[in-house]
């Protein structure tokens, strides 16, 4: 029958609407003011003891807290009624956690207050971007260029040493350009000896023979090797930044690589950019020292903490962390036990070799030194004042027996899997591989963020009301159908954005506003077609049918081309532009669905299968 949907289509529309409502629902629950406590070791869950300690502290201070819990990601969340209580409670909890065993990050957070039944369906509210919640965004560039240059230099020194060690006489070594090394020899025999010696050991180079005055061997660094050096430098810096961000007490920081040599750092809620920059720019260091002999005089030794005990090491430092170029977790091929493989630069290799060859059998300690800040609280004129003061943490992270004279590459064995991972991480964090500098920074104040949310919400609601009103006046009953469709469209848009975990930004809100304005276009196309067909003398039912069907290709073409533009916008865009592109794209898809399916279903329900004389359009 004309203008009657088969049952399955009605059900499809109904299902979409129900799903849309469910998944957009979490957004109407305002978030609670919460304090979040997480472990300083990324990814490690907090213990119930820590939860008890935190709860006890707020209980004792008499705060009106509720719903304390450990989240699935292993963080403590304690909620409060007001933001003043939240802030006061944070300092109370911070003090309590300082006394508790373990290291914690205490931060303010907005905790979603999604009801249980929605959580069970995995429905979550949309995340807000920095421009809506306030915070700092940094884009940092890592100076990988100089890392690569240094590594190449050290490889070159290494090649020469290798040849000397193997007693292969070369005439000269020169570097016509970066990453290329020409080693010339007396004759071709020596050259082939050198080549067979080097080729198996230095996979970073490609080898080729050349002839000048003398035969020479050309070593060219491979792009692969350069990429690896860059990757290593970046991942090292990423790790370092992650460790430092923990100190800032940020609830949901984002630290990730962007492109070849950049790192994005988003710190929601952070206002003090100067402090943030100071902490991010800080350097942790690493030292290798021998364990002091039992009879060593006190003046030549120094004590460090090692897993809760004292370790007495020599004051004399073998070498520092800046000589470490790589540290990876590996496995002993014989025993299969975890180990850490450490690579030093060539100078570091010499130092290590010279120091260890006469000290086989002694233990060598790895000392990790880091400057942190600690908040302390003082009562000044009856007011509690927070003071941040830096303090230095020095501890021994490994104490291992030297088995042989250590070359440039050596390993530390006898570790558990967790220990090995931790040590390699610290070794890398201790030696910040490459210089970093800020190339872009955006800070949004907290008041500004809230204002943006309010203004955005206001624009959406005013824009929406105007459009709804206009459609109702202009198309009457059909306008009502279109308006219902528009509301469904908005619900679906919000539901899709929430469930794919898209971040809502200010330009994103602009995208929603624009979607509201443009979404009715499809309906307008259909309705004006229906009016036209009525004028052409078609009966109301066939006019409705013809209107929807004739408009279909037009709507498809028009929307697909706009979608192409939106996708391009997304792929070239950074930050704000991306946010706009996402909402626009999703908006196009949902509005196509609502105009073609939902509005049609509504119109069918109103008019379909009945004998009607005229249409209210």
């Amino acid at each position: 029958m004309l203008n009657k949907y088969p049952l399955w289509k009605n059900l499809l529309v109904l299902t979409a609407v129900v799903l849309g409502v469910i998944f957009s629902l979490p957004n109407i629950y305002p978030p609670d003011f919460a304090v979040q406590v997480s472990s300083e070791n990324n990814g490690e869950s907090v213990t119930t003891d820590a939860l008890d300690a935190a709860v006890a502290s707020v209980e004792e201070a008499g705060f009106d807290y509720f719903d304390p819990m450990i989240t699935p990601d292993g963080n403590i969340l304690i909620r409060f009624k007001t933001d003043t209580e939240q802030r006061q409670a944070k300092s109370v909890i911070q003090r309590a956690m300082f006394d508790a065993p373990g290291e914690y990050v205490v931060a303010l957070n907005a905790a979603a207050s999604t009801p249980e039944w929605l959580k069970d369906l995995r429905a979550e509210p949309m995340k807000y971007g920095l421009d809506l919640r306030g915070g700092v965004h940094f884009l940092m560039e890592v100076d990988t260029e100089s890392v690569v240059t240094n590594r190449i230099d050290s490889l070159e020194t290494d090649v020469k040493r290798k040849l000397r060690e193997q007693k292969i006489r070369y005439k000269s070594v020169d570097s016509p350009r970066r990453g290329v090394l020409h080693v010339s020899f007396r004759d071709e025999d020596v050259r082939s000896a050198a080549r067979s010696e080097l080729e198996s050991q230095y996979r970073e180079f490609t080898f080729s023979n050349g002839d000048d005055e003398f035969p020479y061997l050309a070593l060219t660094i491979t792009q692969n090797a350069i990429d690896e050096m860059e990757d290593f430098a970046i991942s090292q810096n990423l790790q370092t930044i992650r460790n430092r961000v923990n100190e800032l007490g940020v609830a949901e920081p984002l630290v990730q690589r962007l492109g070849r040599n950049r790192i994005v750092v988003d710190l929601p809620g952070v206002q003090d950019t100067a402090e943030a920059k100071r902490i991010l720019g800080k350097v942790a260091t690493l030292q290798f020292r021998f364990e002091a002999k039992p009879d060593a005089p006190r003046s030549t030794t120094i004590n460090f903490d090692y897993e809760g005990r004292d370790a007495t090491l020599e004051k004399n430092i073998i070498l520092r962390g800046d000589r470490v170029v790589d540290a990876q977790v590996g496995f002993d091929p014989d025993s299969g036990l975890p180990q850490v493989n450490i690579t030093l630069d060539s100078e570091g290799g010499n130092l290590m070799h010279r120091s260890t060859r006469n000290n086989i059998g002694r233990r060598m300690g790895t000392v990790f030194i880091e400057t942190k800040t600690r908040d302390s609280y003082e009562m000044v004129d009856g007011v509690e004042v927070r003071k941040s003061e830096p303090y230095v943490v020095k501890r021994v992270v490994s104490l291992a027996t030297v088995q042989a004279a250590l070359p440039r590459q050596f390993r530390i064995t006898g570790l558990g899997a967790g220990e090995a991972r931790e040590l390699s991480l610290l070794l890398r964090a201790g030696a910040l591989a490459a210089d970093m500098y800020i190339v872009e920074e955006r800070t949004v104040g907290a008041s500004m963020g809230q204002e943006n949310v309010d203004q955005g919400a206001m624009s959406v609601s005013i824009g929406l009301s105007l459009v709804l009103l206009f459609m109702l006046v202009y198309y009457r009953v059909f306008g009502l159908a279109a308006n219902l469709g528009l509301m469904i469209n908005l619900t679906l848009l919000v539901a899709v954005m929430s469930s794919i975990g898209a971040t809502l930004t200010l330009p994103g809100i602009a995208g929603i506003v624009l979607t509201v304005g443009m979404a009715v276009d499809a309906n307008v196309l259909i309705f004006s077609r229906i009016r036209e067909e009525l004028k052409n003398g078609l009966s109301p039912q066939s006019a409705i049918n013809a209107g929807f069907e004739r408009a279909f290709t037009t709507i498809l073409d028009a929307n697909l081309t706009t979608l192409i533009v939106a996708v391009i916008l997304y792929s070239i865009g950074t930050g704000p532009v991306k946010g706009f592109a996402i909402t626009l794209s999703i908006g196009i898809l949902t509005s196509m669905f609502t105009a073609l399916m939902c509005t049609r279903a509504i119109v069918n329900l109103m008019y379909g299968g009945r004998n009607i004389k005229s249409l209210s359009i």
């Binding site: 624009s459 105007l466 206009f470 200010l506 624009l514 073409d557 192409i564 865009g573 704000p576």
Partner: protein, 294 residues
């Protein structure tokens, strides 16, 4: 219509925003109404060069823009925003930092290239799509209309001297999308009429098509303008550039899809033969092909 905009673009160029030039920007809110002259003096005394101080939204909000300082290193320039905030806070009045941005020169250059590339990529791929779905002459007509829209909107920014930042680029791309919508609706009707109306000359057919779609074009533009005005009035300073760009673009796009795209079609001598190819054989009306279930 194009010439004043083109010449302004050539002479005045655009008032490139921070995203493209690089530099620092600080937006602060004063407790009471602020005095830009006093602030300028304050910054001069602190030794900053080339700063621009202006009201932003209200007489309490102040926006300070400053290019990278030549006597400072890259690292020091990255901290310029903090230093300016510190200087402003010394002024005595309560100052609240609302927003601070720093864009390094290299990033600025990249963003410029990306923006330009995006516009071209958008125009190019749209042309391919239309040529594929319709016919090359339609594609040229549509892209001519889009070019026109982009240049007029850019020209307006150049003439008035509004800040041209990344959000305006987003607006331009949205304008392309929007105007395309219009052009496609018209083209679609033109195609349909060329196939349906047997005896008529191209001019008459295009005229009929334009008249048939005029109502829809105006209604859609009107609803879009309704929400844009809401955004313009309520959305706040930060997306003003975006809202202005789109508003201009939508008005221009409406008119260009009616006049420009159709005229380009006529000028290229569009005829029945161009469209006589049925999309699939054996159908009287190719449009029926795309029909959904009834």
């Amino acid at each position: 219509m194009l010439s004043p905009h083109l010449s302004s673009l050539a002479i005045n160029q655009l008032n490139w925003g921070l995203d493209f030039t690089g530099g620092s920007l600080v937006e602060v809110e004063y407790e009471n109404s602020a005095d830009p002259n006093a602030i300028r003096l304050q910054l001069d005394e602190a030794g900053f060069q080339g700063h621009v101080v202006q009201f932003f939204g209200s007489d309490k909000d102040i926006l300070v823009r400053i290019p990278p300082q030549k006597n400072l290193t890259d690292k020091e320039n990255a901290r310029l925003g903090d230093r300016i905030t510190a200087v402003l806070k010394e002024g005595g009045q309560g100052v609240d930092l609302r927003r601070s941005e720093f864009v390094g020169p290299a990033v600025g250059e990249e963003l410029t290239n990306q923006g330009g590339l995006g516009l071209l990529a958008a125009l190019g791929s749209v042309m391919v799509y239309i040529a594929f779905r319709f016919q090359l002459k339609f594609a040229i007509g549509a892209v001519a209309a889009l070019f026109h829209d982009v240049i007029i909107t850019l020209g307006a920014f150049s003439i008035v001297g509004w800040d041209f930042d990344l959000t305006v680029v987003a607006a331009l791309l949205a304008v392309i999308g929007y105007s395309l919508n219009d052009t496609i609706v018209v083209s679609d009707r033109v195609r349909e009429n060329f196939r349906k109306i047997r005896k008529s000359n191209p001019t008459a057919i295009i005229n009929t098509s334009l008249n048939q779609t005029l109502g829809r074009t105006l209604v859609t533009s009107f609803t879009t303008l309704l929400v844009l005005v809401a955004l313009l009035v309520m959305g706040g300073e930060q997306i003003r550039g975006f809202a202005i760009g789109l508003t201009i673009g939508v008005v221009i796009g409406t008119y260009s899809s009616i006049y420009i795209a159709a005229n380009v079609l006529l000028a290229m001598g569009i005829s029945k033969e161009d469209l006589a190819i049925p999309i699939k054989e054996g159908q009287d009306d190719p449009d029926m092909m795309e029909m959904p279930d009834r």
